[in-house]
């Protein structure tokens, strides 16, 4: 298990390294050409950062660094990648966690209602799945920040600044989670053990809560873990839309300016989170479901 996780991480890191080297040019050349530096100056700056070494040497050097916890420095301003990530990670994590919480709660509620036959809940799920974040986000800003003036539309102003972005991102993710739960609930409603519970005379709420939902939650666990990975894509857009600081904006910026070490560092970090979350979901599923454990 652990060997496998490490292997997958190494592959993802390698992929990040070589995919970026496909791009023509690099941040140094772009930056110095713009500022009118001579070819010799560019060469010496690249040499100082080790960019003139053979590709394979650069790769092994970088990999050794990663293993010892050093992700290198930004090409543009020489800041350690670890510091850049550490500084930007807090707003992103609070956004992602708040969105995930909203998504799980919303997905559970809407999903079980839709599975039990509510057509308005089904419609809400369809909207959540179909409406792009950048549109629902724009609408939400328009209604809640401009028309009603209840909530701030941008920035990182504490808890109130978190409500709109996490609601928008969470609503979209709730669609994916709710869909799986709805399918599970619809399938379970007619199961034998639900029939038994009903003929025992259990109240309907208890049947839904203890019997139906519990059986429908299992497939949802792995979907929630997968969504944790997709959240990063949503985070990039949400951070842009609401003008929030965070990892998503740093990533977008670094790709556009071809600051390889920063992109690689963020990819390694997010890949690690994704792989660990999914491995944990496997373990949880095994714990919850006696059939998988066997």
């Amino acid at each position: 298990m652990i060997l496998r996780v490490i292997g997958v991480l190494w592959l993802a890191a390698t992929l990040a390294f070589f995919a970026l080297r496909l791009l023509p040019g690099d941040a140094i050349t772009a930056q110095l050409v713009d500022s009118g530096a001579s070819a010799a100056q560019i060469e010496s700056r690249r040499a100082a950062l080790g960019l003139d070494a053979p590709l394979f040497t650069q790769y092994t050097d970088w990999l050794v660094g990663v293993v010892s916890g050093d992700l290198g420095v930004s090409m543009l301003d020489g800041q350690p990648v670890n510091e850049i990530v550490a500084r930007q990670v807090a707003p992103t994590i609070s956004l992602a966690l708040a969105a995930l919480l909203i998504a799980i709660l919303g997905g559970l509620t809407l999903g079980s209602a839709a599975g039990l036959g509510s057509s308005s809940a089904r419609f809400a799920l369809n909207i959540a799945l179909s409406a792009p974040i950048y549109w629902t986000g724009t609408l939400a800003i328009w209604v809640f920040a401009l028309l009603l003036d209840w909530l701030p539309s941008s920035g990182d102003s504490g808890l109130t600044g978190l409500i709109l972005p996490s609601a928008v991102l969470g609503f979209h993710t709730a669609g994916a989670i709710g869909r799986v739960i709805a399918a599970g609930v619809a399938e379970t409603v007619n199961a034998d053990f639900v029939f038994t519970a009903r003929s025992k005379g259990l109240p309907e709420g208890l049947i839904v809560w203890r019997h139906i939902l519990r059986a429908s939650l299992l497939p949802a666990v792995s979907v929630i873990a997968l969504q944790a990975g997709f959240l990063l894509g949503g985070v990039v857009i949400t951070e842009m839309l609401f003008n929030r600081p965070g990892i998503g904006r740093v990533l977008l910026d670094a790709v556009m300016r071809q600051d390889y070490p920063v992109v690689q560092g963020i990819v390694v970090w997010t890949a690690a989170v994704y792989i660990i979350v999914n491995a944990a979901a496997d373990v949880i599923t095994r714990q919850l479901d006696p059939r998988v454990a066997a």
Binding site: L9, L11, P132, L251, V255
Partner: protein
């Protein structure tokens, strides 16, 4: 399904419904709210929003369709090949698939766009390439799910070659799943190509496209919310209809 046919037909003929030239700017009528001459209002450059929405469907749907093909062709071939591959390769492929899935797909799309530049094809490649590996996984899963089926056993005992079995026995039997999955990829591509346009990476200036319109509308939405409203509704409705059709085609595979 019927809704989907209607949607496609509508997108194809919609440019005929345009009341104005979607590209012509008019400095005298910037950001006009909806009224008789411009039924959905005008944008920041005075272009007619209704005409841009009706003509913009071509590019938006075209990019999504291209991206779907780019994702599905290699994905299906790879998935089928993997399902027939020996154990060792299967294990290696498993780890590689997980590694690619762990790689943020935004990063893949951004890298492809930086490499290929802007325009229809680069955008389609950026969105499509990011979907190849998930497709491999779904196709392989679908193929493995029917591995024990009786008709495969009979084909094997009749001495059919693995290639023949995969092409003539496995592929037709997982076709409904694949068709439903194609719908999922299409709606995903629609959302994501619009997302890249929103980030300012997709479109060419001027050419009507729902994603670009949304991005432009967002910049002006404080004073003129109707500019972003129309393309947003168009994208949401399209994705809903495609998802519905995919749902009906088969219990759509989980992503």
């Amino acid at each position: 399904m019927r809704l989907l046919m209607f949607l496609i037909a509508f997108v194809i003929v919609a440019p005929l419904l345009a009341t104005h030239d979607p590209m012509s700017t008019d400095t005298d009528s910037q950001r006009l709210p909806p009224h008789a001459a411009h039924i959905l209002g005008t944008d920041a450059l005075g272009r007619d929003v209704w005409s841009r929405v009706t003509t913009g469907g071509w590019r938006t749907f075209g990019v999504a369709a291209l991206a779907t093909v780019i994702a599905l062709l290699p994905g299906i071939i790879g998935g089928l090949a993997l399902s027939a591959a020996p154990r060792l390769i299967e294990h290696l492929a498993d780890s590689s698939i997980n590694a690619v899935l762990a790689f943020p797909s935004v990063a893949i799309a951004l890298i492809v766009l930086t490499l290929l530049g802007q325009g229809v094809m680069p955008l389609a490649f950026a969105v499509g390439i990011a979907q190849i590996v998930p497709t491999v996984r779904v196709v392989r899963g679908a193929a493995l799910a029917i591995r024990g089926a009786g008709y495969l056993e009979s084909a094997r005992s009749l001495g059919a070659t693995p290639t023949r079995i995969v092409l003539f026995h496995v592929l037709p039997n997982i076709a409904p799943t694949l068709l439903a999955y194609a719908g999922v990829v299409f709606s995903y591509s629609l959302l994501n190509s619009a997302a890249l346009s929103f980030l300012g990476l997709g479109g060419e200036p001027g050419v009507p496209d729902w994603g670009v319109m949304l991005a432009e509308g967002r910049q002006a939405f404080r004073s003129a919310p109707w500019i972003a409203f129309a393309p947003g509704v168009a994208i949401t409705l399209s994705v809903m209809i495609v998802n519905r059709a995919a749902d009906q085609l088969g219990r759509s595979p989980r992503r």
